[in-house]
Amino acid sequence: MIDRLREAVREKLQELDLVIGYGEGYDPLHATPVFIQKPEEVDRLIWNPLCVHNLATYLYELRGKRVGVVVKGCDSRSVLQLLNEGLIKREEIYIFGIPCDGVIDLRKVAQKVDIYRVKEVSWQKDAFTAKTDRGEVSLGLEEVLQDKCRGCPYPTPVIHDFLAKDPVKPKGEGEGLLEQVSELEELSPQERLAYWRKELERCIRCYACRNACPLCVCQDFCAAEARDPHWIPLRDRVKEKWMWQMLHVLHLAGRCTGCGECERACPMGIPLLRIRAKVNKELKELFDYEAGVKEGVRPPLLTYQVSEPKIEERQW
């Protein structure tokens, strides 16, 4: 599969300014985004379940250039959403799609093995073995997959110019994330409040969640950091952290594709995707809408209809 991808990239590179894909990271458990500009760099490209990053994050920043981007099914939804919102141009990008069987949540791996002492990783069909100085640990892929991958409805890129292998059938209807949401919905409002206070208290406002987000295109001009007007005080309290996180979520309502980069990027382990999964579920129920799955669809909160079929008007 990787040979097919490399071959396609090598061929297309002539027409493109660069191709963003995955390469080996600083240790055997980390992959990293690589920016390929020369044919001799193409062999740096890899593919395995450690290729977690959503590379669509770089597209808005690189607009104006001809960019090839390697995407998984979930990442392709971000590309489509950026296109639907007119934030990037179709003719400027070339999409190398990878039908995906799921990627690894390193936080889950860290519960089983000291991930910063792993010296070697070897792959089996549905498992992998991590070697440290203290011995070997074998882990089944299923037990360490990211929650978004369980029941993934879009394992094959929804938009692509090239597919590196045969399409993968949908695995469900997003059960992994829906379970996370229903767990929280079962809590009373007071319990939910306590849950989020405890989680959000850890936020250090480093904005990794925002900067890793492919749809957060305001970046340097984000309201959270604006100094004039100074919307959110810099106090180190839950209140301000909460304010920031809600601002983030609400600005993504109808735009978030649930890729989970916010949560993966968070050094404090805050379950940020849960908030988004909840909003996305509400949007689906209310507007029968999912971000980044159909071409040419406008997010419901970026448009207006006199009467919405599922919103009951108040009788004045």
Binding site: T32, Y58, D220, E225, L234
Partner: protein, 337 residues
Amino acid sequence: MKDGVKFLEEGALEGLLRRLSERARVWVPVEATPGVVLWRPWREGEKVRLDRQGTEPPKHVLFPRSETLLRIYEKEELKIEEVMPQGPSVIFGARPCDVRGFEVFDQVFGEEDPYYSVRRRETTILTVLCTEPERTCFCTTVGGGPLEEKGSDVTLLWIEGGWLAQAVTERGEEVLRDEAFVEASREQIEKGEQRKEAVKLDPVVDLSGIPEKFLESFTSDFWRRVTAKCISCGACTFLCPTCYCFNITDERTPEGAERLRSWDACMFYHYTLEASGHNPRPTKAERYRNRIGHKFSYHPSNYGTYGCTGCGRCIKYCPVGMDVREILRELKEYAEG
């Protein structure tokens, strides 16, 4: 090992922390959520994680994420009240790289910064020496070491069943007078020596000439190339034991206002945005270049030591796997090639 080596049995830890807490605010590393170890004031029953490097360094104990410098009351008459740090602290379970971060702070804030220096004077540091460096550790590359005791008041070395404890300062000797510390046996001391000898961490890159090489690279496209994947968030700076940049803001309170000093990061656009609207570091390339330049060129030129302690957190917690070691290697090659 010198005379007066004590032994702290694992089971005696809780009692020690309880007694220390009677006199000071005792900061300990705890697993706040699976896999995330953060510094919290010790509480009864808290499980202390001394077996791994914390996700964050204890820098906020001496340099809070946000602190009130003064309060302004404007109800009847205008009143300004200075707010100074109160009370002694203990940092229990720092790592040598964390402690070196405070050395960098001392160089910068020194005695002139009243808020910092009050806290610094009143903080006792007990450090757990590292016997098993992680793969992202590179303290020996920047002049530190896993067994470095400088800057600590007490060092703790894990051997079976507990820690060998040694005082580094007078204040440390005071701590070791607590009943939890008993005389270490000859066997325990020997075991400690063996553990120390087994620790190995080779430098990963030769930094000689780096401060000058950095300056040569300043205007080149090197920085644009190596920062292509950087997403310009503040995870590296906020988790760095030596990053000390701050912002000062006046924020509203019900009674009037307060002046805050809060962490800022050179990775952010607003950090260098000037009142005119001009920004000398408009993209991530200039911003990341500043981060490396500050730690490996400007700081050594100004103070004679690197502004990096090699803790490796900027590598571990970078969402896209930026690796400062790799960039220093490439910088060397670039300047030489």
